[in-house]
């Protein structure tokens, strides 16, 4: 992935590859698709192909992006605006950025591209049993996982976007984020040609979480790899991630998937969507639900099963965000939102449990000598 942050020049120039997909659904992507759909979307595709359910969606590919820029006919104009800019001159940078972003956000898309996105959005809505499904529109940069690679664009994310016009508008806003003042300055400083940078935009169903949280495929306190630990609260996961509530906590046996420990906490706050303001808002959990388990046992088991699959796929302990969607029917409503490698225990050098004794007899003797602590 390290070399993939630049798009192959030949595909971006005037002669665009007309056969490459401009829009593609996540399930058509995998870890080799970074150049096409960026890191975020390709990892979602990777999860789907590993058998993990993620909220469905599609990407405007880097080809789609190149097509847009080409059709808009603004490449030369942008080049002119940026020519000779000093990366230290923030005022000038800001001005150029504003002009360019306005340009990008106001130019029409080609009818073909617009149709492709609209068709994909319609398909997505049908899949979600909704006339117009609320989605998250976010940039999926081709280099976002590289250290210091923020030049690719601000990680813009627009939530609760509904209806094709709004979707289209926010796709443009994501594209224009390639031209923030900071991004431009960075590229100038590093000597990257602006015209060679590319972006993909992901359009993904908003998980309208009834319940959400995080889970780890290693016990955060003991480093035990044989368990999966799940934190959950009603509403969106942000109440859990931010530590604003003490979530319900479950310890699941990774080998057998049964729940071996559960702690139900008093949960006073949760987050839900306000469709009008397109924001999540905090609300008080009704008193009669505060002490109720925020997730069903069957859902815990399914989450743990997914966690196990994800860990196996990546071959290392993982830290996973998940949600259970209230708009989708049972059996298709449990989603993984994000999965990243667990870092604390994975980087720790664990001492071996063996006393260095090789035979059972040696171990028994050495253990007898140590004895068992009275607990």
């Amino acid at each position: 992935m390290g070399t993939a942050f630049m798009i192959d020049e030949s595909r971006l120039g005037p002669e665009i590859d007309r056969r490459a997909p401009k829009v593609c659904f996540f399930e058509e992507c995998n870890k080799d698709s970074v150049a096409l759909v960026g890191g975020k979307c390709s990892s979602l595709g990777e999860l789907i192909n590993a058998g993990v359910r993620v909220p469905p969606g599609f990407a405007l590919t880097t080809h789609g992006y190149a097509d847009f820029m080409q059709e808009a006919g603004i490449l030369a104009e942008i080049g002119g605006l940026l020519d000779g800019l000093d990366h230290d001159d923030m005022d000038k940078l800001e001005e150029a950025s504003r002009t360019i972003r306005e340009m990008i956000e106001s130019r029409p898309m080609s009818i073909e591209l617009e149709d492709l996105i609209a068709e994909a959005y319609r398909k997505l809505s049908v899949r979600c049993y909704m006339p117009a499904v609320p989605v998250a529109v976010r940039s999926s940069a081709t280099a976002e996982d590289l250290p210091g690679a923020s030049f690719a664009g601000q990680q813009d994310t627009y939530l609760w976007i509904r209806g094709i016009d709004d979707v289209m508008h926010h796709v443009r806003r994501c594209i224009s984020s390639l031209y923030t003042a900071r991004a431009i300055a960075y590229r100038i400083r590093m000597g990257f040609p602006h015209e060679q940078v590319a972006i993909s935009v992901g359009i993904q169903k908003m998980a309208n979480a009834y319940t959400a949280g995080v889970m780890f495929t290693v016990h955060p306190a003991t480093g035990d790899r044989s368990v999966i630990v799940i934190d959950s609260n009603f509403g969106f996961g942000e109440s859990v991630v931010s530590g604003e509530v003490t979530p319900d906590n479950f310890v699941v046996n990774k080998v057998t998937l049964d729940i071996i420990d559960r702690t139900i906490s008093k949960k006073e706050v949760c987050y839900t969507a306000d469709l009008k303001t397109q924001k999540s808002v905090a609300m008080e959990v009704p008193a009669e639900r505060q002490n109720i388990q925020s997730i069903l046992d069957d859902e815990i088991t399914e989450l743990a099963w997914m966690a196990k699959k994800i860990e196996k796929h990546y071959g290392r302990p993982m830290d996973i965000e998940w949600a259970i969607d209230k708009n989708l029917p049972v059996g298709g409503n449990i989603f993984v939102l994000q999965a990243r490698p667990e870092t604390i225990w994975s980087n720790k050098q664990k001492a071996p449990a063996t006393t260095g004794a090789s035979s059972a007899m040696d171990y028994i003797v050495s253990s007898l000598l140590v004895g068992k602590r009275l607990a």
Binding site: T222, D224, D258, A353, T354, S358, A360, L368, K372, R373
Partner: protein
């Protein structure tokens, strides 16, 4: 942890029991008149062995405690030389047994014992199977001797053959001698009991210990599951019942076998039925030795065997006939158990971080699997088969004592120590020989009446779980196992005991012994006989269960016990049947009432009383 001083506890004699000490051997007493011993007792940590002794000990039943006091200690200390520990010391307060491992304090001495232990215990681990085969022969010979042992009644006139064969010995002498033989056989049997047991426990304990080091959150039930699916004869009696059920159906006598609650009625009805004899013959054949299975732990005289009460195995057979008629398989799902064992073991093994640990895991698992059959099977030979026969031989002795007026009822004999019985037999035999009245006819009945009152007061007293000063570590395998069970139950017990009104308790905790979550009606069964009332789909709540309860598990959907760990019978059987179990809950049979609706979570070990 802070516990009371033993002598303070003992000092508070329960009114009306003054002098109770004479019911037990003198070396079991906490003393105040011997400063050195008193000091040792004060500085030592004693814990109540509630796993083995849920009730105060009858004076005679102290025999097995003395037997294992000797056997375990000698094997640890004089035979195998477990490096850091000698034997396990015993005391009794108000009929309850307290035990304490005796550590070797001098590091140099510990060091000296290591090579001995390596050589000796190592020899047993290495030659385990061959030595175990030899053990079986020794045990079977001992039991055969016991079964053949005659407890002669005292005739008015000796048989003529005593004269014509020139025997030169009387039945009186035989009675004395055979009583000694009976006791000695019992002690010998317990010598064998501990020949392998502590080594077995050590292999277990440290396999579990190692696995928990690797996986701090691993449920113990999963560790034990890795050693499951090995055939052991403890299940044989239950298998015999299943075979008899199948045979009854095949011979078309199942309507009769399932048609009466009393064995005598079944037997009588079978006599007039085609193939009835054939089935009865099969039944008789199964009884020896397999119905020598105690309905309790076998540790106490009041644990009766299936052979003593044939209604219990009959009820089991009837349960299985019912299942066969419904078309339900009654065979143990051994293939599935083994497949799941192998899957679980492989997955945990894969989660081990490094090769050294994986190798150690393999070694310890292999060792635990080797010792497993003995750790299970010795129970059938000793606690069930030998004990069941032994208690009844003792009843023959008691019948003679009753006949000569020294005790009023046969069951009174248990209120005497075994050396007191020997004295009483001398009294009887010399009086019989001489033609006078035994002195004991005037003394023992009154003493026994008094002891009955004392025992009742003991039962009403609750023994503190531990006394004395707790050490930081314990190093004696048997004690580790026992203490593991005792200690983990302690907090659960104290939680429940702290509640003034038991009716207000809505939740109990114990060991998560077999996973799963079910809701259902409770049926409290205090003895194996009560399981006859069990209805299909109920949740069994019992003080503990033993293999003789096996048929009950075909009816229930979950099991809850007061006493026991994840290796207890209820835990193992529930895992095989794939139903939830919570064991070692302390007071379930007291808190839960038949008919209550319970939710049993065998994965987290919580029982909720729903209504």
């Amino acid at each position: 942890m802070k516990f009371p001083v033993p002598h303070d506890i003992k000092g508070k004699t329960i009114p009306g029991t003054e002098g109770w000490e004479r019911m037990y051997p003198y070396q079991y007493q906490f003393v105040t008149d011997d400063p050195k011993r008193n000091q040792y007792e004060k500085e030592t940590f004693w814990f109540y062995d509630g796993l083995h002794y849920p009730e105060p000990l009858y004076p005679f039943d102290t025999i097995w405690d003395e037997a294992w006091y000797l056997a375990l200690s000698q094997f640890n200390n004089r035979i195998f030389q477990v490096p850091p520990v000698r034997g396990v010391d015993h005391r009794i307060i108000n009929g309850y047994v307290y035990i304490s491992p005796v550590p070797v304090k001098d590091p140099e001495e510990i060091g000296k014992r290591v090579p001995n232990f390596m050589e000796r215990a190592g020899y047993y681990y290495k030659n385990w199977d061959a030595l175990e085969a030899k053990w079986k022969l020794k045990m079977e010979a001992t039991i055969a001797e016991l079964e053949a042992l005659e407890i002669p009644r005292l005739p008015d006139v000796e048989d003529l053959s005593v004269v014509t064969d020139g025997i030169g010995e009387s039945k009186g002498y035989h009675l004395l001698k055979n009583y000694d033989d009976l006791i000695n056989l019992g002690i010998k049997c317990w010598q064998y009991h501990f020949e392998f047991l502590n080594l077995g426990y050590a292999a277990y304990v440290f396999f579990m210990d190692f696995t928990q080091k690797l996986f701090p959150n691993i449920p113990m039930q999963r560790v034990t599951q890795m050693i499951s699916g090995i055939d052991v004869i403890m299940y044989r009696p239950d298998d015999e019942l299943k075979e008899l059920a199948k045979k009854a159906v095949k011979l078309e006598v199942d309507d009769i076998v399932a048609g009466h609650r009393e064995w005598e009625d079944v037997k009588a009805a079978l006599a007039n039925r085609r193939h009835g004899d054939e089935w009865l013959a099969a039944f008789e054949k199964a009884r020896y030795p397999w119905f020598n299975i105690s309905s309790g732990t076998g540790w106490f005289h009041n644990d009766r065997s299936w052979n003593d009460n044939l209604n219990i195995p009959l009820d089991g057979i009837q349960t299985y006939i019912g299942k066969i008629r419904e078309g339900v398989s009654i065979d143990r799902p051994m293939e599935a158990v083994r497949a799941e064992r192998d899957r679980i073991t492989a997955e945990y093994r894969d989660l081990i971080d490094n090769d050294d640990d994986r190798k150690q895991f393999d070694e310890l698992l292999g060792c635990a699997k080797t010792v497993f059959p003995y750790v299970e099977n010795h129970l059938f030979y000793v606690e069930h088969w030998f004990h069941s026969v032994f208690w009844n031989k003792m009843r023959e002795v008691a019948a003679i004592m009753q006949e000569h007026g020294v005790i009023k009822e046969i069951e009174d004999v248990w209120y005497l120590r075994r050396d007191e019985i020997k004295q009483a037999l001398w009294d009887i035999v010399t009086a019989w020989a001489t033609g006078v009245t035994p002195r004991g006819t005037a003394t023992w009945p009154a003493e026994i009446e008094w002891r009955k009152g004392v025992m009742q007061k003991f039962r009403e007293w609750s023994p503190p779980p531990a006394i004395g000063i707790a050490p930081e570590v314990i190093q004696e395998p048997f004690t580790i196992v026992l203490w593991g069970v005792t200690n983990s139950s302690l907090s659960a017990w104290s939680d429940v005991q702290g509640v003034a009104d038991p009716d207000s308790i809505t939740e109990l905790k114990g060991f998560a012994a077999s996973p799963g979550l079910v809701e259902g009606k409770a049926r409290v069964c205090r003895s194996a006989e009560d399981i006859r009332d069990l209805q299909e789909g109920e949740i069994l709540v019992a003080p503990t269960t033993s293999p003789s309860w096996a048929p009950a598990f075909a009816k229930i959907k979950a099991c809850v016990t007061d006493v026991g760990g994840v290796m207890s019978h209820a835990a193992i059987v529930c895992r095989e049947y794939g139903m939830p179990a919570v064991v070692g809950t302390g007071l379930s049979t007291r808190v839960i009432k038949t008919g209550m609706t319970l939710r049993v979570d065998g994965s987290s070990g919580v029982i909720s009383i729903v209504q």
